[in-house]
Symmetry: D2
Subunit: 146 residues, 4 copies
């Protein structure tokens, strides 16, 4: 996949740095490539649901951000990205010492970009615990990104 | 809708209290009825994405919990609830002073319960900013709920 | 909801008439209102899956068309509608003498319109057998609609 | 992936033969492997939407059947498969001389199996025109499959 903005990595890293919620949960931008982004999240006891596993909202947050930034990495200079919608399947309890969210572009259109994402749990073993299919939107000429 | 556990409200409230992530983001269980649950979330600057709106993961977290507990409110005594999957459409930026997530049961089956949810943003005006369609699972006889 | 094209009903009816697949399965456009469209489908033995119920693809077809035309009913003159994505929950087997698909606009944006749809089965009793959450796109200035 | 029923292929082929709707649209079961099924569909003018492309319901029908039978291929003897829900993204107009739906199991659980599917259009070139993420259910001891 060919980026249309040579400074795509700085753009993604700059935008991620503004996502206060990523800092709140302790997520870190691990890798930025054209059309693919990886976010890492260490387990923390304050991120769990009632059974002690990562809350589905936290699962969604890191996979959605990974997908959104995978989409942004291929957008033209000056564009911003918005999540239009996503669907998440939770395959097994999100148990692990840390987690790795990967977002990939499946198809980048002029207005809409479709992505697939997954969350891998890393502990004694590694396994995919959630998968996402998402639609992202290219926003131009709107005062959304500061 | 008819609850099969007369202590459904205590059960939902007890489980919600164990969802550490709800406390982390400042969410509060506002109402528990058979087949419908409401969660309230005040805006906080540490919950946002890059444009200053509530992060889609936070949106998802409160609507997913509302849907999950709406499902649990109709389950038999001793059962636990798991999110199988959900799909979220983000209708507009999640901007507001506070937010109100409503989860409702559409159909409660023996194993699977289908729910619809929405997030309302409350500021100068009120508007629905996200909608969810979700599948929840009744889990029996498994060491998931402590 | 306010139509932006006074001839919205003719436009929807004209487009539906071009959907050869609707004729193939015997579906009929029953009602067109601003932001809401109803399609009726009698049961036929050549539309079933392996258990004798309406195939999920047929369920999807009529609810998707109902949602798409609900969206089109609110679009400006000259615009065409495309299905971007949808998610369907199959609540129970689609058994009945006939079926009624209803599509409704939840939010009509400049580019994207979000809809909800459902399929009701009508036999000895009536019940909702499937629900859809869908995203439709307004397409302008493209040679898609003939 | 390891089938639990050595006669998985006959079982899938037998069930597919009962899906009258697959015959109605001219779909053919092309390949059955443990955890993966391929269905082929030649283009026909009576399967289209208003712009002359394959209707989204037909797209969904063949990908859903491919995913369902991929799931069934891994189920124990005597089990039947039901589609619980699916989400489809339509990446581009479904234009081609023929189409190839591939369904794959991502995770096979005791009750639920999660699949991913896609539809490839084959004409002057080949391209993926739709992707699906689906949940299938193992049904035992119920009078659903004849």
């Amino acid at each position: 996949m060919e980026p249309r903005d040579s400074e795509f990595e700085q753009r993604v890293r700059g935008s991620f740095a503004k996502q206060a919620f990523m800092a709140t949960i302790g997520a870190r931008l691990a890798a930025v490539q054209p059309g693919q982004v990886v976010i890492e999240l260490p387990f923390r006891a304050d991120l769990v649901q009632q059974h002690g596993f990562l809350h589905a909202g936290v699962v969604t947050a890191v996979v959605d951000s990974a997908c959104g930034y995978a989409a942004l990495s291929l957008m033209p200079p000056g564009a911003a990205v918005l999540s239009v919608e996503f669907k998440v399947n939770l395959l097994k309890p999100a148990a692990g010492a840390s987690f790795r969210a990967v977002g990939k572009v499946i198809r980048a259109g002029r207005t809409l970009t479709v992505c697939s994402g997954e969350l891998e749990a890393i502990g004694h073993e590694r396994s995919v615990v959630a998968v996402m299919q998402a639609t992202m939107m290219t926003v131009r000429d709107r005062p959304l990104e500061d």
